[in-house]
């Protein structure tokens, strides 16, 4: 029973890590390797707003999501626009920017017990024999809400439909008047905002450290590779496989083997079906 519940929570956390990354890649083809850095940066923004500017927590959380989104937006126009079209230059630029951000945060001394965000709600409930606190339930709720919201957003709003058009065929989208750079920068902004939202709900569970940024990036990549990059269903299934796999490994083999699970899952998936579990044929051509 506890395996089920903690597996579920772990999976939702992984899905939250990944959702911004895979959305951004799916729409504009930008593999945003600074995803993890944006995640942790939003945490520190919120912390600074909360403790130094003295704002209430809810306000600072919302503000930091907005600030991160603007940062993603600017990131596209200032840096990515100049190397757009060569995927590897894009990748190196985002990777370097992400690493640079993380190192700057480390240099500023953002690690240690001091840096943690408050919980939204204290206390917890017991489901059968398993105790579970409200914050973790809140994480699960946010994850579910986000997926529903995103589904609605890309199927029923103008911008969302433009996103899907870009993802399916960039040239055709251009010919009906969807501006590629605008949508690209919006997708970066949305990806950054999703990273920030994930940070806002997950970070209160533990300490903040700039090295978490790297971890988030690794897990996001692992889930994206296992599930297939562009498909939302694949992302969810991928995060469930790795999430439950990790909890099971921790339970039956030992906590230190948790780290093997993403590695093993990636190797297995790549050997059996290189395009990811829910990858489409088009992806197969690109990847293999």
């Amino acid at each position: 029973m506890s395996l089920l519940i903690y597996g579920l929570i772990n999976s939702v956390i992984l899905a939250l890590y990944t959702v911004g990354f895979s959305l951004c890649y799916g729409i504009s083809g930008i593999a945003n390797f600074s995803h993890g850095a944006l995640y942790i940066l939003s945490g520190f923004t919120a912390w600074n707003l909360l403790n130094l500017a003295g704002l209430p927590f809810y306000l600072s959380a919302v503000l930091s999501v907005i600030i991160t989104a603007i940062l993603g937006f600017l990131f596209y126009w200032v840096l990515l626009l100049r190397v757009r079209g060569t995927p590897l230059a894009e990748l190196i630029v985002t990777f370097a920017a992400g690493m640079g951000l993380l190192e700057l945060l480390t240099w500023k001394g953002f690690y240690g017990m001091r840096y943690s965000l408050p919980l939204y709600m204290k206390g917890g409930i017991e489901i059968g024999p398993v105790a579970i606190d409200y914050q973790r339930l809140f994480v699960v709720g946010t994850g579910v809400a986000l997926v529903v919201f995103l589904w609605f957003f890309v199927h029923h709003t103008r911008v969302g439909l433009a996103f899907r058009a870009m993802a399916q065929n960039e040239r055709t989208a251009l010919s009906v008047g969807i501006e590629s750079d605008w949508i690209g920068s919006l997708s970066m902004a949305l990806g950054a905002a999703l990273a920030a939202i994930a940070a806002m709900v997950i970070l209160p569970l533990g300490m903040m450290e700039s090295s978490i940024g790297l971890e988030v990036l690794i897990y996001a990549l692992a889930v994206a590779i296992v599930g297939g990059l562009e498909s939302t269903l694949g992302m969810i299934v991928g995060s469930f496989i790795i999430g439950f796999g990790q909890i099971a490994a921790a339970r039956y083999i030992g906590a230190k083997w948790m780290i093997i699970v993403p590695l093993a899952a990636i190797v297995l998936v790549l050997v059996i079906k290189p395009s990811g579990i829910f990858g489409k044929f088009k992806e197969l051509e690109e990847r293999v």
């Binding site: 593999a31 840096l79 100049r82 190397v83 230059a89 190196i92 630029v93 370097a96 240099w107 093997i260």
Partner: protein
């Protein structure tokens, strides 16, 4: 009557020494010979003399520069067949751990462990990345980024091979000078061999895989096997650097899998220019002394690398080497626009 403003433009002319291709030259005089030889021979002589001149701290920097140079070369070699790696640290750490554990647990001297680590890390990396070479571009980069970090975490949590503490007091090379020259000569040899290989038929196939892998497949060449060979070669070079470093510092730790060893080679190649290996060499010979002189800044160093990486990719995408080569081979004069 409109007064015509005089406009000027730059006119570029290739020097007359080049015949048909970039690699075949017509030499008519001693001056031409010098013109061709100097840029090739001077850096080599300089690099060979440098360890004798520089002692102490900056002597170590020469070793560092050659290590990173080897990693940058191995990165460039893989990039030549379309494999863009973000995890050169995998090769480096693999070589370091093979050499270090052999020396620590079995007391095998460096003269055996270094070659064993070179070959072993080539084989292990080829085996590890073997299933993955089917991926291209971003996907391959993702996997290579993750592998060294996951291995590092694995060593951290399971505590094998010394765990977080590492393995201390490994046996050193006979003298400082031997280690330095091993690094320098290895670096230069690797540079020249790679430059020869990439222009041979074998290298042609590798470059063709990068440009159009389907066409190579239709020529009945097994591109995956070729890619695995490329991974083996560059894994061996990276492993050599790692083994050398381990014995030089007589210490083996998890830091050999750290991100520094992944980022700096990429930054060096991005700065120097990709595809000719000379660019990778120049890039690392510029970046490493620069980063050493920035050591006072401590943690900011990585951030500065990243800044250099971004600026050089956006500002000078072709890289310093290509830029300099173009300037060297061309006359430039200002002429009036008529």
């Amino acid at each position: 009557m409109v007064e015509a403003t005089v406009q000027y433009r730059r006119k570029r002319l290739d020097r007359g020494i080049k015949a048909r291709t970039d690699t075949i030259f017509v030499i008519a005089s001693k001056r031409d010979t010098l013109y061709l030889l100097l840029p090739r021979v001077l850096p080599v002589i300089a690099l060979l003399i440098l360890p004798l001149v520089l002692k102490g701290y900056w002597g170590k920097v020469v070793v560092f520069a050659c290590m990173y140079g080897l990693l940058a070369l191995s990165w460039d070699f893989m990039a030549c067949c379309g494999l863009f790696s973000l995890g050169q640290a995998l090769f480096f750490g693999m070589g370091a751990y093979i050499a270090g554990t052999l020396n620590y647990y079995f007391h095998i001297p460096p003269i055996i462990t270094v070659p064993v680590a070179t070959l072993g890390s080539g084989l292990l990396c080829a085996a590890l990345l073997g299933p993955v070479v089917r991926l291209k571009g971003v996907y391959f980069a993702m996997i290579t980024l993750m592998l060294p970090l996951l291995l590092k975490k694995m060593i951290d949590t399971t505590g094998i091979f010394g765990g977080t503490h590492g393995l201390p007091s490994l046996s050193p090379f006979p003298s400082e000078l031997v280690a330095t020259y091993l690094a320098v000569v290895g670096f230069l040899a690797c540079l020249f061999i790679f430059r020869r290989v990439i222009n041979s038929d074998y290298g042609l196939v590798l470059r063709a895989i990068r440009d159009d892998d389907r066409a190579v497949m239709s020529g009945a060449i097994n591109i995956y096997w070729r890619k695995i060979q490329a991974v083996f070669i560059s894994g061996a070079v990276g492993g050599f650097a790692g083994a050398l470093m381990t014995h030089h510092f007589q210490f083996l730790g998890m830091s050999t899998f750290a991100l520094d060893y992944s980022i700096l080679p990429v930054a060096a190649v991005a700065l120097g220019g990709q595809g000719t290996f000379a660019g990778a060499a120049i890039g690392s010979l510029i970046l490493v002394p620069l980063s050493e002189s920035l050591r006072a800044l401590g943690g900011l160093r990585m951030a500065i690398y990243c800044g250099i990486l971004i600026v050089s990719i956006i500002g000078l995408p072709e890289g310093i080497f290509h830029y300099m080569a173009r300037k060297y081979h061309q006359f430039e004069k200002v002429v009036e626009v008529k």
